[in-house]
């Protein structure tokens, strides 16, 4: 589904990603761990094609196509979707209008009618993200993605800033997004969506089954393994030790 080869990304004069190699197989869920400032969000932005960063070297392949220099909408049309951590406010653009305008397979009305399940029905006529709380932003992103129906989804800290009352709903909606338990437009195809998920706490792992995890630090991938194993190591030893372990092995 996704293959990243020796990716170097610069922001201004500073190199953020220093040769990232990573792949996500069809139908797989991959987790990206790493301390703050390690370049995880930059990697997600580079895959989506947004942000002010510049790819200086390397390649991003999606469904076998080189998308390294494609525009954001071309990538979206190929099937990439993103749940942003801090999406921008857009005054005057209503959430419901955006959902309708971007819905795939004419599923806009179906998704709108499901807005209640996302606890978003009273937000459809509101300006996107304007005055939304942490949990509301997540639910809004998930509602939009439910309409967009990507084949591969980038989730940037889906559980961050969410209170305990909301975490269950958001976790379930992330699950639905990846496993398509409620097919849209009547299609019964058991679609399994691939994903790359950034998480710090690992809470989201209670809702989705992840296949592989990567640890990123200082713009590089240092380690890969089973998500629960890596999470346990990070919890017990911290990122510094994790990387040392890898260095010894090398």
């Amino acid at each position: 589904m996704l293959e990243i080869k020796d990716l170097h990304v610069k922001s201004g004069d500073r190199e953020i990603l220093k040769g990232v190699n990573l792949s996500v197989a069809d139908g797989q869920t991959c987790i990206l761990f790493g301390p703050n400032g390690s370049g995880k969000s930059t990697l997600l932005s580079a895959i989506m094609g947004c942000g002010t960063t510049e790819i200086t070297q390397g390649q991003i392949l999606f469904k076998g196509q080189d998308i390294t220099h494609m525009t954001v909408d071309e990538r979206a049309k190929l099937g990439i979707g993103m749940m942003m951590q801090r999406p921008p406010n857009i005054t005057g653009v209503k959430l419901g209008d955006l959902v309708r305008a971007t819905a795939k397979d004419n599923c806009g009305d179906d998704v709108i009618s499901e807005a209640r399940d996302f606890k978003m029905e009273s937000f459809l006529d509101r300006d996107i993200n304007v005055g939304f709380s942490g949990g509301e932003i997540k639910r809004s992103e998930l509602l939009q993605l439910a309409a967009q129906k990507p084949d591969f989804v980038l989730l940037d800290e889906p559980e961050s800033g969410v209170d305990l009352g909301n975490i269950d709903l958001i976790g379930k909606k992330v699950h639905d997004l990846l496993y398509d338990t409620k097919p849209c437009g009547g299609s019964k195809a058991n679609r399994s969506v691939s994903s790359l998920v950034i998480t710090h706490t690992g809470q989201i792992l209670n809702y989705i089954s992840a296949d592989t995890a990567y640890i990123m630090k200082e713009g590089r991938i240092w380690c890969t393994g089973r998500p629960m194993d890596l999470l346990k190591d990070i919890r017990e030893k911290g990122y510094g030790e994790c990387i040392k372990c890898r260095l010894v092995k090398m």
Binding site: G51, V72, P88, I90, G92, L98
Partner: protein, 401 residues
């Protein structure tokens, strides 16, 4: 009292704002014009009217159409509550009408008002009777049909005590006319507890000069909303309507959305004069500059205690080359007032465009959606009936890159 001589002297008087226009270059427009019985039978004029929201649909209470300087159509489905006439007919029919003429606007204000006064211009007359609350809007349409001519109109709107009305005015040039001048003097009187929502949607020629002169007198607890929409190229437009909040608790709102394309010179805004206690005013302006010249003005004058007002001018600059100037002004003459303003000029935020593109919209679609939101969505109280016209105008303006 003004005399004809005083006003004659004002024929050379340049306006306070906007590029000066030589009015002698134009001949006075015709008064004897083609009569339209039904909008749907108006031939090629129908399309022109469509573009500025003038329709033959059921949901209009009445319609007045002016072509150049003559009334071409006047129909009214609500004779019991609203009277629609031409201003000259009204002056003949009622003795009291003259008491409203040139009371809100000084005829020697500038050359355009002077010309209108001296030509004894006709225009539309709308009178809403005491307590009548109109369910549907009245529409008026001002068409400039002759090249090298001046359309001089003097409109009078009176909303009597406790009454309410919405007016939608579509102004446009036909394909016969481009290098022409529209001067529309509108005097509006909103009595105690009455309200008026006045929406203007305009589509002019690339060389047309436009000089509306609007002033409104508002009584106790009366309210006035002025929506002004210009999303098509224009030669030179200068508009600065004034609302005088004369009665306690009166309120007004000005919402302006304008586009200045290359070659367009737009100078627009509004002034609210808060003359009575506890009055309230809001001036919101949203403008887009695409290579043209745009001035967004706003002025609040606080003359009485408890006056509250807010002024907001926001502009998006789409490309280099044009000029964007925001001029917010606050003026207070008493202590107990609260007046604020905000002004912002900038480009469309890249992160917003990319966010929408990440959902699959093209860059042009994303920009159009953001601009539509910027113009229409951020202004409260726009009549839903105008939404389609605004959307169509935005699509036509092709604001993507």
């Amino acid at each position: 009292m003004q005399t004809g001589e005083d006003v004659k002297k004002a024929l050379d008087k340049k306006a306070a704002y906007g590029k000066d226009i030589d009015i002698d270059r134009f001949e006075e427009g015709e008064r004897d014009v083609k009569q339209i019985d039904e909008i749907e039978d108006s031939g090629d004029l129908k399309e022109t009217m469509d573009h500025v929201g003038v329709t033959d649909q059921e949901d209009r209470l009445g319609t007045i159409i002016f072509i150049d300087n003559g009334m071409s159509h006047c129909s009214n489905k609500a004779q019991d509550g609203v009277e629609l006439l031409s201003t000259q007919e009204a002056l003949k029919k009622y003795d009291w009408v003259k008491d409203y003429m040139w009371k809100a606007i000084d005829p020697s204000k500038d050359k355009y008002t002077a010309k209108t006064y001296l030509e004894n211009s006709d225009g539309y007359f709308i009178h809403v009777k005491e307590g009548y609350k109109a369910k549907y809007p009245v529409q008026t349409c001002m068409l400039l049909n002759k090249n090298k001519s001046i359309q001089n109109l003097h409109n009078l709107i009176i909303v009597d005590e406790g009454a309410s009305l919405e007016i939608i005015t579509g102004c446009s040039t036909t394909h016969h006319s481009n290098d022409a001048l529209h001067v529309g003097v509108s005097e509006i009187y909103i009595k105690d507890n009455a309200n008026l929502q006045f929406s203007m949607i305009h589509s002019w020629g690339k060389e047309t000069g436009v000089r509306p002169r609007t002033a409104c007198m508002i009584g106790k607890n009366g309210s006035y909303t002025n929506n002004y929409i210009l999303l098509n190229p224009v030669g030179s437009l200068q508009s600065y309507p004034v609302a005088n909040l004369n009665g306690e608790g009166a309120s007004c709102a000005f919402n302006t959305m304008c586009l200045a394309e290359k070659g367009s010179n737009v100078d627009t805004g509004g002034m609210a004069v808060l003359n009575a206690p506890d009055t309230n005013a809001q001036i919101m302006s949203r403008s887009i500059t695409k290579g043209g010249s745009m001035i967004a003005r706003g002025r609040l004058v606080g003359n009485a205690s408890g006056a509250k007002a807010h002024l907001e001018c926001r502009s998006i600059v789409l490309e280099d080359g044009g000029t964007t100037l925001a001029i917010p002004e606050l003026e207070a003459h008493v202590a107990d007032v609260e007046m604020t303003h905000e002004a912002a000029v900038g480009k469309i935020a890249r992160d917003q465009v990319e966010y929408l593109m990440s959902r699959g919209l093209t860059e042009d679609e994303a920009i159009a959606m953001i601009i539509r939101g910027f113009l229409a969505g951020s202004i409260e109280g726009l009549p839903p009936s105008l939404k389609n016209e605004i959307d169509a105008a935005i699509s036509k303006a092709n604001l993507g890159n």
